[in-house]
Each structure stands twice: as C-alpha cells, then as structure tokens.
Symmetry: C2
C-alpha cells in the first residue's frame, strides 16, 4: 500500500531560514561589499525646527578621501520631482507635506537629513560631517500635538497653512441619543506615548548605478522593495526595468522599514552622481532620532452602557501626532479608531480625529500600526464600566462579545479600500472562556490572597482584541519547477525574520508532495517578482500564502496532465510523493518532477507533450476578498511593588485564533515576540522629547526595551476558526500579540493596586509613573 501523502501544513517544521543564519551565512545589507564601494554619512539637523540659511561644505570637501558633500541642490539635479511622493493618498489630508530628499530650506525635526557626505570610509565621512558649516535660524517647535492644534500655536512647518494636516471621523449610529439613554457613562483621557520599532538591524542602503546600462541596483533593508522601486523610478526618472531593489536578509522590520525614507533616495541619487556604489548603514543614534516612530495619541473619550453592562455608545476625540512629514497618510489613527471596536458589539460610535504636524520624526506604523491604541482605549473603558456596574471584568466583556452565530459580522465601519469592515469568522466567547479557564481566572482571588499573605500585591487583567489582517489589494507568488527538480517560489512578499520562506515552502510542499527543504523561496527581489507589495498588516500568509497555494495547484494540475499521458493513468490515479509523480500505491512507477519540467522547457524544434503549454510554472496574484480578522484573549497576572512602582509579570496566557495554522511553532514565535513587544510598550518604552523637540532618549540606557529577565513565560493556546475568505483558511498573526498586551497589562496593574485607589490611564506604566500615581493616590495600602 502506498503511504498517505505527507502533510506539511499545520506542522512545526523547523525554519529553513535558520540554518544559514546560524552558520553566519546571512547576507544583510551591511554584508554587501562591492568594488569601489564608498560610504555615506548624513549631516542631520540639530534643531527641531529652523530655517536653513547656509551650508558651507568647502572644508569637508577638501578632506582627503571625501568624494562629495551632497546637499538638496546637488541631489535635485538628478531628481524628477521635488518631494518623495506620498505612498498612501487619502482624502482627509488637507495639504501636501511630503518630505524632501534632504532639507531644502527648512528643518522640521532633530535628525532630519541635511547633507550626505560620500567618502572612502564611514570614518572619513563622519570626520567630514564635523567640518560642514551649517547655519540654521531656529524657529519655535511644536512637540505636543494638542498644543499644536491651538489657534495661536507656532507652525511646525513654514510651508504649511497650519498644523492640522488632516481631520477625519469614524462615526455611525446616533451616539448622542445612546448616551442620553445610558444607565452608566464613564469618561477618561488616555495619553499614549511615542516609541520606535527598534529592529536589531537598523536601516541600511547600498546603491550601485551602472552608467552604461543605466541600471540602478539598490540593496535595501526594507519591508517593501516594490514600493521602494516605485518611488525610485518616479523620483529618479528611470524606467521600471532600470531599477532593481533587493531586500536581502533583513534583521527585523516592525513597521519603520515599511516606509520609503529620504535616505534611501539620497543614497541612490548619490551613487548616480558620484559614479561609484555607496553604502549607508544607520547607526543606533540615527535610528532613535531619524527613523519614523509612532504612538503619541491623546484620547478624550466616554463610553455608555445600559444597566446590564451592554455597550450603547462611545464618543470622543483623538489627537494624533503626525510628525513633520507624511510618508504614510492617515492610516495609523484610522486603524486606532476602527480597531477600538474589537470583538464587541458597539451600537453607536463617533470619534473625531485630528492629525497634528509636529517637529518630531514622522509617525508611521510600528507593529500593531495604531491598533494597540484603539484596543487599549476600549479595554480600559470596559474595565471602567465593569467597576461602575459592579460586574466582573470578564463578565462585562462576555455580555458584549459578538457571538459565533453573528458571523460573518459586518460592522458599520469601512476598511481603507472602501469595503465593509466585516469580521469573517471566530468564536470570541469561547476564546475568552478558554483563556479564563487556562489562566485560572476564577481561582485568582485565592492566589491573590496567598500572595498578600506574603506581602506581595498581585493583580489580574485581561483584554480581548481582533486584528484585521491579510490586507490587499493583492500579493504575488509564482511556483516554478525546473529540470533540476528544484521548486522555486518567487514572491512579492518579503521576509524580515518572521519565517516567510518556511511558510511559503510548507504551503507549496503540501501541494507538490516534496519536502520543504527542496523548495527555494526567492523573496524581496523586484527582479524575481515583477509585482509585489510586501510586509505589512500581518498579511503575507494570507496573501502570498494563498497565491503560492493557487500557483502550486496549477503546477500540480500540469504535472498530472503530463504524467497522465506518460504513465497512461487517470490523473485521479496519480499521486505526488517525494518529488515524483507516480501511480498511487506503485512506488517507482512514475517520473521525477524534474523530468516533467525538462519536457516542458522545450528543445529546439522538438515537440512539447501534447496539449500542454510550455514551462512547469504558474504565477498568481492573490486578491483577498476582504480582511481576515484574527482574534484572541490575553490574561495577565502581575505583581506590583508599591514601594518602587516596579511591575513583574508573573503569568501570561494567550488564546489566539488566526484560523488555520501553517506552522504552529512560527505562529507562537510571532505571538511571543508580539506580547513582549507589547509589554515593552506597556511598561518600559518611551521616546522622550524636551519642550524644544530635542530627543532625550537616544540610547538603550535611556530607552528601555523589555529584556529576557522581564519577559514572562507565555502560555499559548490555539483555536482555529478557518477564514472563509481564502482557500487556505488562514489569517494573519504577525502583529496580534502586540495589540492586546498593553491593555491586559494595564488591567492587571490596576487590579493589583485597586486597594490603593490607583487608576492607570496613560502608558507606559513606568516605575516612576506608577510611583507618582501611588503617591498622588495617597500611597497608603488599605
């Protein structure tokens, strides 16, 4: 009897990526070494805001080893447009605030690139920076977006009419009537803090321009090589076949590498101007001061419920720090506003959103992309309503959860592409039930009491969330089998360490009956896949995964067609096993896939197998019908030391549902990483600026990341509610861990300190802040 076809989907296959990385064979941008390579360093604005009046580069240019000191005017000569075009247009944007390649006549945040020195070495380039005479006439800076919206606020940019760069609204239902009839109303202000993506590998670019062929190759530590190529084509006046962008190994993306930055254009333009390849690798200080960040949001919000704790409405205002430029449009606060709904029924809603220009780095997504803020606000409001109604925090949530019989659940909101925001599948009630059971929610009071007897203050908290994942409009993948028998998957998806290669290999392995390690995945190269979008919105398993799946099915059909004739057997009687197509149950009866590929590659003048088109390959651009909504419940137990304000997370339970699992181990890796990221956001990370816009936290001694000693063990339980929106039934998982963690941690901390009367509203809950809250609350435990 034949062995059953092996199954690669749903197995924790070891990651294909790890072998080369662990053996030192990774190739990151800084590993790209080219003959004649020069090194770039950026002169950056020391002021948050100012008028750029003069740049004296003579002394820098005279330094031996310097090949050029390039300013805006120098680069502009090879550019076809003045600014980097907005990647994500949106009607809500009131005026154009796209960035320049280098500061033209105004600097708008500390760290803004003003000049690029190209030299024989990075050391020489940095020496030259010190020799550049930079004259800037300082101007008042806008740092707090609330203050920036005041009528008499200084302008963050002289070329803009005011600071309110965009205004929009998320609204439905009669929210005022809902409030008028409410049994309970709670009001709160939540201030959420600015932070960064902090990938291990900072940004980096190597650009080479071949003058003879006018071919620009850019190795770029980016999540979005196709978007980078598009921006380069447009700004440099080249055609698509003249630009290749390669994202080699990328040491973490987390959002900042979603954006096309001025430095990427400047380095490419410099390579064209100096006629030599140029490398720039961001240092950590640049990463703190010049890489996009997110999260400064100020919510003033109220929630209403009926006597049974059922939500009636939420209304309020959101002021969002936009930073100094607009590389990304309004998606970030819109994600916050829409994700606030979470897994709950909310009958009426109105959120007025204002985006304020500030003299800080542009605000663009980091992992979660605005969703953690919306979830945080909703979950804090539910905690407040629980308190007000006297309901258990889990019970008030349960009463508001969308139930499985309501699926698919169409909310009154719309997603970015204008489609109804519809939750595709999931059992939110069961998810919370399991999380509470696994976390021992009901037994917590006993644990709390036991701890209290030891002088420790324990709290428990929970948060539910959804995440719209798998965003379109499409992703590309092609599957090709060559005469060598190797299966090559090319895709517009990109890999930053999340396991994209292994994920795609498993999907294709399942269909073609070949071990994943015999499948090569080429991602992140615009020459390998003409189309592509890349990594954002926890989308790649959904979009590229299903594209690869469909492509593999087409290849499989072709294999069966050819083999059916060769083996004189019905396709239904054939199977694909271990790289061969054979008659079911007759090992050795068939042919290697490479033989099929060889016959379809064509030889001069010889016929192909009858009725079969050339090539053993198929490409698919998978267009998702809509977002797939993963969901989950986090339950956190934390111990708080009221004397020092420190928080230790003692138990962390996640029940997570991202539909069908391709590789449970990799999903767990994503969840663990996301939770720890969220813990950092809840307790530690905060980018601080002085009132004049000077960054105060430019090292990891000032800006604390969660380290292994503070990361708890995280118990993860999977539910699998397949998405009806794609053949694989998968949903995204990459960001979801981040979304609930701040809310759940805050809930637990507040619960621990309930006896002290402390309320947690703002993040991060640093020891200093908590200590302050305790002091303000009187400091005395009951």
């Amino acid at each position: 009897m034949s062995a059953p076809a092996c199954t690669w989907l749903g197995r924790s296959v070891p990651r294909l990526e790890d072998g080369p990385l662990l053996r030192g064979l990774g190739r990151f941008v800084d590993d790209i070494r080219l003959p004649g390579l020069l090194h770039g360093a950026f002169l950056r604005s020391p002021h948050a805001h100012g008028r750029l009046t003069a740049i004296d580069a003579a002394a820098a240019e005279a330094l031996p080893g310097v090949h050029g000191v390039l300013t805006y005017g120098d680069l502009r000569r090879v550019l076809t447009c003045d600014r980097i075009p907005l990647a994500m247009p949106a009607g809500a944007i009131r005026f154009d605030v796209d960035p320049f390649v280098l500061a033209r006549d105004e600097v708008c945040h500390v760290g803004e690139p003003v000049a690029l020195v190209v030299a024989e070495s990075r050391a020489v380039a940095e020496d030259a920076l010190a020799l550049i005479g930079l004259e800037i006439e300082p101007l008042p800076a806008v740092v707090d977006p609330r203050a920036g919206l005041a009528p008499d606020a200084p302008r963050a940019r002289l070329d803009c009419p005011d600071n309110r760069v965009a205004a929009t609204e998320a609204a439905y239902g009669d929210v005022d009537r809902a409030f008028a009839g409410a049994a309970h109303v709670v009001r709160e202000a939540f201030n959420l803090h600015k932070g960064g993506g902090h990938s291990i590998e900072p940004r980096g670019v190597v650009a080479r321009f071949d003058q003879a062929e006018r071919l620009l190759t850019v190795w770029d530590s980016t999540q979005m090589p196709h978007q980078a190529k598009r921006a380069l084509v447009r700004t440099l006046g080249l055609a698509e076949h003249q630009v290749r962008v390669v994202a080699p190994d990328v040491g973490g993306g987390f959002g900042p590498k979603f954006v096309f930055h001025p430095e990427e254009l400047a380095v490419a333009a410099a390579a064209m101007i100096v006629g030599r390849p140029v490398k720039w690798i961001e240092d950590r200080l640049e990463s703190f001061t010049a890489t996009v960040q997110e999260r400064d949001q100020h919510w003033t919000i109220e929630a209403a419920c009926d006597a049974e704790g059922r939500l009636l409405g939420i209304r309020g205002d959101l002021v969002h720090d936009h930073g100094a430029y607009t590389p990304y449009g309004v998606a970030l606060p819109y994600n916050s506003a829409t994700n606030l709904l979470g897994p709950y029924r909310l009958p009426a809603y109105r959120l007025a959103i204002s985006l304020c220009l500030t003299n800080l780095v542009p605000a663009t997504p980091t992992r979660g992309a605005g969703r953690p803020q919306g979830t945080y606000v909703m979950e804090r409001l539910l905690d407040r309503l629980a308190e007000r109604t006297g309901l258990d925090r889990a019970e008030i949530r349960r009463r508001n959860l969308i139930t499985p019989d309501q699926m698919p659940y169409r909310t009154p909101l719309r997603t970015r592409d204008g489609k109804a925001m519809t939750y595709d599948s999931g059992d939110y009630v069961e998810c919370q039930r399991r999380a509470l059971a696994l976390a021992g929610w009901d037994g917590f009071e006993a644990r709390r009491a036991a701890a209290r007897r030891e002088g420790r203050w324990l709290g428990i908290g929970l948060a539910n969330y959804v995440e719209g994942s798998g965003r379109g409009p499409f992703e590309s993948a092609a599957v090709r089998v060559g005469p060598s028998g190797t299966v090559v998957v090319t895709t517009g998806a990109t890999a930053q360490g999340q396991g994209t290669v292994t994920m795609l290999a498993q999907v294709v392995a399942e269909v073609l009956g070949i071990a994943p390690e015999r499948i090569a995945v080429v991602a992140g190269d615009t020459n390998a896949s003409a189309l592509g979008l890349g990594a954002f919105a926890s989308r790649q398993a959904v979009t590229a995964g299903n594209a690869a799946h469909a492509a593999a099915l087409a290849v499989r059909a072709k294999i069966l067609q050819v083999a059916s004739a060769w083996l004189e057997a019905s396709p239904a009687d054939l199977e694909l096993v271990d790289g061969r197509v054979q008659v079911k149950g007759v090992p050795g009866s068939g042919r290697a896939l490479g033989e099929v590929a060889d016959a379809l590659a064509g030889a001069p003048g010889l016929a192909l197998p009858a009725g079969v088109a050339p090539g053993l390959a198929a490409g698919v651009d998978f267009e998702p019908e809509g977002l797939t909504y993963c969901n989950g419940t986090h339950v956190v137990e934390a111990e708080v030391d009221p004397d020092t304000g420190t928080v230790a997370i003692t138990r962390y339970t996640v029940v997570h549902d991202c539909g069908r699992l391709i590789n449970p181990m990799m999903v767990e890796g994503q969840i663990v990483g996301g939770v720890v990221h969220g813990i950092g956001s809840a307790l530690y990370e905060r980018m601080l600026y002085a009132e004049d816009g000077q960054p105060q936290t430019g090292t990891y001694a000032d800006y604390l990341l969660p380290t292994a000693d503070v990361a708890p063990r995280i118990a993860i339980h999977h539910m699998e509610s397949p998405s009806p929106l794609n053949p694989l039934g998968v949903k995204g998982a990459g960001e979801s861990g981040t979304i609930a963690a701040p809310a759940a941690v805050a809930s637990a901390v507040e619960d621990a300190l309930r006896p002290f009367g402390v309320r947690v509203a703002d993040l991060p809950i640093t020891a200093a802040r908590l200590h302050g809250l305790l002091a303000a609350a009187g400091g005395a435990a009951p």
Copy 2:
C-alpha cells in the same frame, strides 16, 4: 478630427540597437569587467587524434600570477556528470559521443581543449600554457568522412564502436519505379566543403560564482542563454534559481553560438573552483580550430524526369562529416535532405544519409543549417536536366514549381517535431517570374553577346529555394507597462545584431500606440524571461514576434478596460495614441498609460480598479502550429576570367517572400548579409585540413571571406504572402539569403563557361579550382 493611429509595422524604422553601438556604448562579453576578474586560456590538442597520457602542470602552476591549471580531473570534481548532455536527442544516433568538458584520456581534434589556465592576465595565462607538459600518443586520424566509413578505417574515437555515428533516410514514393520509367536521368557527385560561422566577435565567457548565495552568473556570447543555463544547471548540480546566463551584446551568431561548448562549462566550473570570476575570450586562431563548423558533405545523386522535364524522382547517398562530437544530433544532414525538395513537386525520393565521426571539430549549423547544401544539389540537378532536355533553366524550373492553388502544400516528409512538412503559403511561380523580369533574364543573351565582343565571358544563373523558418516549440515574450509609462518587453529571444530589439518594439508599438523608442526590450537574460529558446532557424520574428504581439494585445485590452471605466466610454470608442489612452478624436481626454499601470501596481490596502487583475502586463509563450516557409528566387550574372579562374558577380537580383514585413530595411539587411555569406561559401570560404587533420587555414589570409570589393549590389524585391500560421502573418528571413546563393552563383559560373565545356559540381569555386576545371576541360574556348 483625430489623426489615424500610427502604424509601426511594415515601416523601415531605424534600428534602436544602433545608437548605443555607434556611440561605443555596446557591452559585449569582453566589456564585462568585474572586480577580481581572472583570465583563462585553454591548452588545446596539437594532434587531430591521440591518447592523452600525461599532463605536467607543475611549471605552469609555479608561474607568478597563475591561479590554477585545471584539467578534466579538476573540473570533474564540481560536475555532476561526465559529459555535456546532448542538446538534441535523435533516434538515429547509434552511440553516445557527447563531448567532455576537457579532454579526458583521448584527444579527437586539433584545438580540443585539454587544460584551462586561470591567471591574473591573459598574457600570464598564455605564458603558462607554454609551460605545461602535454604527452599525447598520436593515433591515426579520420579526416574524410567517406574514407571514415570504410570497414578498415581507423576509428576516430577509441570509445566508439565504429565511425558511423548515425544513419538515417529521407524517403517516400516508389523512386526506383520512377527511374525505370524516366525519359531522362542525370547523375552527379557533389562535394561540399567545410567552413565556419566567422562572427566578428568570437566566442567569450565571463563567469562569476557567489559562494555565499551559490549564485552563478555567466555572461556568454551565445544565441541560446536558456539552453546554456539548462546545461550549466545539469552539469554543475545547481538549481534553476542559482544560475543566470546573460547574452549581452553579441557580435554575430551565425550558428556556432547556437551550441553549448565545453569552454562555457569549463570557465563556469573554473570560477566555482578558484573562487574568483573568470573571463575567457576566444582568439581568432581558436575560432578557426576549436569552434564548431559545418558543410563537409558528399552527395552521390541522380535525378529523373519525363520528356517534358517534369521531375519523377531523386535518389542517392549523402555522407556527412559529423566531426568528433555530437553537440547537436542529426538535424544538419536532415535539413539538407529535406530542403532539397525546395519549391518543387518531387514525386519520389530516397536519400540514404550516413554521419561519419571524423577527427575534425564538431559539425553544427552555420547560417542556413544544411539547407544551402540541399538546395545546391537540387538546383544543380535541375541545371543538368535542363541541359539534357534542352529546356531553358528557368523553364524547367517553372514546370516543376508548386503552384499557388496547391497551397498549403503538404510534402510527404516530416519536420523534426514529427509534423507533416507543409508549405504554408507563397506564389513560387510568380516569384520566379518577377525575378527573371527584374534581372532581365530574357535580355541576357544580348548582354552576353555584347560582353563577348569585349572579350568578357558572362553567365547567368538562377536558383529557387524555400526555408522552413520560425521553428518551435515556442518562444516567450512578456509586455509590461510600468507606472513610469515605459513599456518593457522581456523575451527568451536573443539578439546577435539582426535587429530583434527593433522588431519586437515595432510589433508592440503597433498595438500599444507608442513610439518604438519608448519601448525597452530585454532579451538574452535568463533572469528576465524564465523560459526561452533563442536564436536559430530564422525563428524570432515568427515566435517571439507573435508572442509579443499577443502579449501586447492582452495589455491593450486591460488598458481599455480600465480606461473605459475611468473615461466612461465604451472600449470601442477609445484609442491608444502616443502613450495615452483617450476618447477617439478627443486628444487630451485620456490618461497616460503610466497612470493605468500605476493604478494596477497596487498600494497597501487600497483597492484596484474594479474587476481588473493586478499589474499591466501579459506574458505569452507562442507555440507555432508549424514551420513558416519563406521562399525566393536569386538570379546572378557573373563574369569569369578563364585565364585566372576568377569570378566577378556583376548583377544580383533577389525576389524574396517572407510573408508580412515588419521592417523592410532590416529584412533587406538580412538578405544582403545572407547573400554575401552565400557568395563566400560559393567562391571563397573553405576550411582546409591536411591528411593528418591539421588545419591549414587558420587566418583570414588563408581563409578568404567575401570583402566589400567583391560583394555586388543586390537588388531586392519583396513579395508578401502572409503566413496563415500566425496572427502577424510573418515568416523568418534571417538565413534565406544564404540558401540560394551558392546554387545561383554556380549556375551562372557554369553558364559563363559553357563554351569551355566546364561543369561545376564541387564548392567552393575558387580561382584555383576553376582554373583546374578549365585546364581539365581542355582550356580552349570555342
């Protein structure tokens, strides 16, 4: 009113290739300069046949600057198989005579590569060659294939059972009965000579191996990058995504660059072994002695006709020199045998074909690929029958020509892919009529008489031919419009100077309404087109041209679909003009093609135009239904000096029908080049070998190519019988000039010397040979 859509097909558009070439911006293989580049030189066998007993490389390896002296054993370590696999399998081949990468233990022709020195410079590498101790025990050589087939002949290769490497037959009808009932029979032996392709740019290879990524890039002066990649994948044990072959600018192909040569593999393997890129550029002596050649054929043949000159049958034997190895199978003599039929009705036929191994370079196609020989034999036989029947040479041909009402005309023979050899269209009778009229055939006797009065001997001759062109199984082309508005055509077709780029640009320009100069064509890069065959069999306009045409139509349909929604107009009311899609007759009403492409490239989370798949592109693998048969008539007037034996061609007329013309100027360029090539073959070119297999003609002082002073002005008249086999209606044109020229020239020379009783049978008709013929005939003019 709107201007009518511009028409690019059928216009003599200046070649897009010429600007860069004329400005010195061409990039040939020797222009590829890489960091760390090493240079290779091959040690070659000085013997035509011998046992390789020892190679002492110690002194060569010790020479400063030498990085390696690589022998078969060294290279074998990185190869997965012993020999270079046969590109064109054929059942007629009796035993395996594929070449080794370097000689293993036997050398089989002078110039066979034995070792490869890799050094800092070519000069050092050549110095090192002289230091290698090479021990070869000489063996008897087979030089004449007729002698080689004798039972007691020495074996050309010790590892083969005998020299008859293949035997096959072209036959149909009852040929013996035809002869039995014939009114006239003529018998003749024709010996055709060996010659080469002689592109201006010799062969050349640069190979680079990236150890970290295991990526092999090979820049190769080849007609067939995809076949080269396939051979490299197979022999080096790499997968398809690890090998890229690029044919950059190629300075002429003409057949020899169709073949994958041992040097291409050896250089690639050397780059893997020494860990540095390696370049090898063939020098002219290598080109004479080590590059494949063709044409040594020996025909013993007879033809029968009835009393009115109508052909009844042809029968005989063909002995074909196969050379020492088989890179190409039996296609060459098969082409000779099948193309003998030409545009004539031949009721019965039997040709026994023997392929003999010799100790000469392998015989593979040069321009015409065996067809000139078949046409030569048929046309000489018709001249003989004309003489025998007393008919005018044109008249006997006319009586045997296939008539238009017989089209499509199915011959009893089959093409290589097993399909019936069927002439698709053409008016052979009218073609000859026009050629005779244009050449003044009827007035020739007056010109002859006038010349005779001046003491000059004039002759006139003619030849008809067909050429099966556009061979499959397919060719690939993709058309992609990017947001920049540039149209990029990628194709598996390759360019060696024949105007492929311009041809494809014109085809696409016609469909997309955009000037050809705004279309970029990327050919000859296996990374740009995953599939492809390349340049052979006058195929690229037919196969790649129609692939590009179909792809452009698909792109056009997509443009109309998008624009129809945008402009609220029916697709039928839209037109594509000058890079825009607009409402007919309303200039400025529309949108640039780049805007359509931009909308289809996708932005994160934003919707594509409704109902339209991503990307403004389409790829098509065009599979021709059968060969397209171009045809023509050449009429030659020549003046012969009986005292010296020199021939001067005084008038040359071509009527040519290759179906629909894409670019008449480029077709004429191909015809002129082909005719001159054929004149060289008729009068000058001959690769001579001594009896021991030593080449005697290794420079252009010994081996004469036709130079500008002997090339006549060539009058070309086009007929256009569209092929019904492809949407463009085109047929191939690249080789056809070569096919008739030797026959027409021989006919004219014989005609000039008819008074002397000279008969021309063997080629080339050098002055020395003609002088000999005149002497043998008695030398006296009437």
